[in-house]
Symmetry: C2
Subunit: 394 residues, 2 copies
């Protein structure tokens, strides 16, 4: 069994009215001048942003606001935030939003404490040794960034989307009120669930079959997300199932589902090129890639794909035909994606045929000009990436 480290120190306050704790928590973690970071209009429209600002004011905590973070958050916005934080003497960053806002906040947090260009961290040219503390008031369950150590930023200069992971960036606290997710549109709800399930699956599809407990917990999580999403698509104000999804999104990515196993992450990396190029919703991009990835790599650990089919997708186990069972598991996942409104190939994702040039460009970026690989279960070289994108054309 693989040795592992586990560290998920974020303090969570979960439930109705949990936002009321925000000022107390900012103080507890030493914030005296806060950057309130947010995305588009929804945080304003819902009144959440005003509420958070009012609560900070009431406690005498100074703050500045910076909105405008977009999905696939941009490096330029982070640069803007870094400059603002320095000018205003900000010592704490509060992200009010989903994964994009939190990832942007992390990038700003790194940048403020670094003399060089913050993109260096994402390029792997430098390692952060200090950063401003970050915390989150979560509104979109998906990325798990509210408790994770990772952030993903898109550099518009070349549409390059890269991730950087560092335990320093784990949010100090995360406030989660499932009611704040009632207004999430069905597509974003489904894409969020797809993303959190994929965070679990990236760790589930491993060569290490001996960390039973991690696998058991992953299956329990996947099954519950799969059930809960239909309930909230039927009734967006179903608090109980919104809560399962909100908490599930955190559990999926804070590290628990990866203890003692090798992780894969090829689907994420293949998707990063898609959303870097077409600016699509990350979760939907994952759904468009995964079935092709799965068929391409399943023989690397067939019994695990059988296990997934049986234990997660409720496919009857044909003990005489493991390959057939595994394939039926992938097909069942495709039916699930369709049932929740997700694509299962690139054509469905972007609404048109992808060109050969576009595929070649994605392969070039994903393989960093044929110098890099991705994936753990099967290490993918440029020709594998190309083959999977071809399979995923639709």
């Amino acid at each position: 069994m693989k040795d592992f480290k586990y560290y998920a120190p974020t303090e969570v306050v979960f439930g109705e009215e949990s936002e009321e704790q925000v000022a107390r928590l900012v103080k507890k973690y030493g914030g005296t001048k806060v950057l309130v970071h947010y995305g588009g209009q929804s945080a304003k429209r819902s009144g959440l942003l005003d509420k958070v600002c009012q609560l900070l004011s009431d406690e005498g905590i100074a703050y500045v606001c910076l909105g405008g973070v977009v999905p696939n958050p941009r490096l330029s916005k982070a640069h803007e935030g870094i400059e603002l934080c320095r000018k205003e003497g900000v010592d704490f960053i509060l992200a009010v939003g989903g994964g994009s806002v939190i990832d942007s906040a992390k990038c700003i947090g790194y940048g403020v404490c670094y003399e060089g260009e913050v993109w260096d961290f994402y390029l792997g040219k430098a390692k952060a040794t200090a950063m401003l503390p970050v915390a989150a008031v979560l509104t979109i369950p998906a990325a798990g960034s509210e408790m994770s150590e990772s952030s993903v930023i898109t550099n518009e200069d070349g549409d390059v989307k890269l991730g950087y992971s560092n335990n320093l960036s784990r949010p100090k606290f995360a406030i989660m009120n499932p009611k704040r997710t009632f207004t999430l549109p069905p597509y974003q709800t489904a894409a969020g669930v797809t993303d959190m399930m994929m965070h679990t699956m990236e760790r589930y599809f491993t060569k290490d079959d001996d960390m039973d407990l991690t696998t058991d917990l992953a299956e329990a999580l996947l099954r519950r997300m799969k059930t809960a999403v239909f309930e909230v698509l039927k009734n967006p104000e179903d608090y109980r199932h919104r809560a399962q999804i909100m908490w599930g999104g955190s559990i999926a990515h804070w590290g628990l589902t990866g203890c003692g196993v090798s992780e894969d992450w090829a689907t994420h990396q293949l998707e990063h090129e898609l959303s870097g190029m077409f600016d699509v919703t990350h979760g939907a991009g994952l759904a468009a890639v995964w079935p092709s990835w799965a068929r391409y790599v399943m023989h690397e650990n067939l019994s695990r794909f059988v296990r997934f089919a049986v234990n997660v997708m409720d496919v009857p186990n044909d003990f005489t035909d493991p390959e057939g069972t595994a394939l039926r598991g992938i097909e069942a996942m495709e039916r699930f994606y369709h049932a929740i409104g997700m694509p299962i190939n690139i054509k469905e994702l972007i609404g048109k045929d992808i060109t050969d040039e576009e595929i070649n460009e994605m392969v070039r970026k994903c393989s960093r000009d044929n110098t890099a690989t991705c994936g753990g279960l099967k290490v993918l070289h440029a020709e594998d990436m190309k083959a999977i994108y071809e399979m995923a054309r639709g």
Copy 2:
């Protein structure tokens, strides 16, 4: 659904040779003068204690040792530790052992930073606002104290066993090497698994049926512990299954299995009187009490006992007879306890008949002279406690 807080900041290093990290971690968390706290001879005999001390020395970290912690750790030992820490200027406590040693370390940590009598915290007369940092090199998976906020201490003056919980006491780090558990005798192995399963079950048996994800994860954990224990009883050096149990013990008690549900804890409180009076192994005491508690309270939430029977104990669901299914689940648990060498009643636990006077004395203590209750699923008054102890006589 119940609002909840979640906080489990302990940094875990899990695997073979994980002890090698001990000095680095002590330094990281600010320790300059360490109390190395341990139990009996096994930490010495195994060489672990010497190894830890050598590693501290090699890094130039000063330390003093205090051993002699016994199961059901005593207040007098904690007093000794508090005095030693003050005299020696200790600023970090490293527990090398199982739950008893870690609980004792927590008690010492509280006491050093408190001018009054540390027992006040356990009596509920005071709340700790500061303590020395504590960390653990775990050797016995059971209590979960290596990541939890709780500690349980026995005051020999009256044989009173009380717990105190405070997030301050969550260990800074926990080092877990499954190989260190190879030498655990079968009885202690089984009692440890019983304890960790009960930590999960105390949260599982709730009136709150709407936090599905927590329940799913709890069931996955219970099923895995139930399987893994037989593997390590067959082969004590089965690293894979020792690892499941070691990690399972932490997960069971750090808080994950209680998110969003009301907890019970009556079995633990009823057992504390047993081990307070007879100095038996805590896990064995839990097994001796639980079946009687379960039969006494099952009608408070019958469907949950049915779910336990079916999803954890693999009892076929007789849909026409929920009570029968629930009872068969409790019986299956009794068979499991017997199969791993645990008692299912007090007579089997202490090897003789318990007297009426002893039962009355336990009821008196557990109910604090008929002024206190215990339990969440069903609130137990003195007469309920007496009824359960009577059912559990054997």
